[in-house]
Amino acid sequence: MTAFEILRTNLLSPIVLAFVLGVVTKLMKSELSLPKDLYSSLSIYLLLAIGLKGGVELSESTFQIIAWPAFATLVLGCVTPISAYIIMRKLGRFGQVDAAALAAHYGSVSAVTFIAANQFIEHMGKTAEGFMPALLTLLESPGIHIALAIGALKRAKNNSLVSSGDKKTKSAIFHEILTGRSMILLVGGLVIGLLMGANAYEPIKPFFETGFKGALVLFLLEMGIVAGARLSDLKKVGLPLIPLGILLPILHGALGVFLGHWSGLSVGGATVLGAMAASASYIAAPPAVRMTLPEANPTYYLTASLAVTFPFNLVVGIPLFFKFAEWLAG
């Protein structure tokens, strides 16, 4: 398939169309939005489903196969917050604290982008390694911690009045990231899947797999509404966020695909790893950043992550990483 055909197929996929409908809904100022409880329920369902499936597949793979991809993922988790910080400082001319806040988002990962990438490669007739959800959990927290540490260091340097409560906050943040809903559901699902194995998964499989794609469409509709609501903020926070919100995922995504390929992942797996590295967190990172770096303007990081990077990856990024992975694989 040519790049154009791939892009067209992706654009006409139900999840992308649902996302676009969400954005249009918001632009038309419709009052439609998913009930908050449904939104939470859908995210619980989706995260647990990928955790369980990943766990079952993990029970059938060996340590040797996972070791290098896991190492590559950890490298990505350490490199992406730093590169994001430097780019936001140098090219974006953001202040230290805002740059660190943005870096925490770009260093972490968006589970929805991960799911979308999996759907995309499936659509292209490829599959990703079954242990990819395990890599997703590995990538989630190091980036946030590293970026927050950069932010806290810079803040401490500039401000001698470091409050005594800082230590307490730090352990609270650690606790929050580890016990956040995405961590609990993904890691919990992985452990359950690993322990129960494929036979025990069989009876619950219809519930978690048959409805999965449909639930994803609904979820993406709401994501579109949420992203649409952030679009007006783009004007407020200035336009540099748009090129930066596109440049970063391209860089991180290419690095992710490259490391994925190097560590022995298939074309599908490398594409998914690229999409993971390219994505910006919008569930785990925002509360952690809000509590640790209160001076950072939330409009910057939420707008960049939701209104620029997520749509970019969904529409252009994932097909791009797929092409790159195919090219690397020869």
Partner: protein, 102 residues
């Protein structure tokens, strides 16, 4: 039974703050709280969270002198960088001992 004059401290804040606010108010001597999820928007605020206008509304029943103490503590800690408002109102309650630290 006699009605006693107490204060109702109300805080409307971004949801991410609610657990810290509850800890602070309880450390200062508040014995209970009610939290509701509400929607709303304030003046020049920095919205955080996935759903921008989602807020937490925290209500605390306390003795009058404690009301000011809690509000001052919150103001000092959060007013500069976070979106929140706090106000107190006069209320009348029965069983004042219910609101005392045992």
């Amino acid at each position: 039974m006699k009605l006693m004059n107490f204060k109702l401290v109300t805080i409307i804040c971004e949801p991410v703050l609610s657990s810290s606010i509850l800890t602070i108010s309880q450390d200062l001597g508040a014995t209970g709280f009610t939290v509701t999820e509400v929607r709303g928007q304030g003046n020049g605020e920095k919205s955080s969270g996935e759903i921008p206008d989602l807020k937490s509304k925290i209500e605390i029943v306390v003795e009058p002198q404690l009301a000011l103490k809690i509000m001052k503590a919150l103001a000092e800690k959060f007013f500069e960088n976070y979106s929140l408002i706090t106000y107190s109102s006069d209320i009348s309650i029965l069983r004042p001992e219910k609101f005392e630290r045992v």
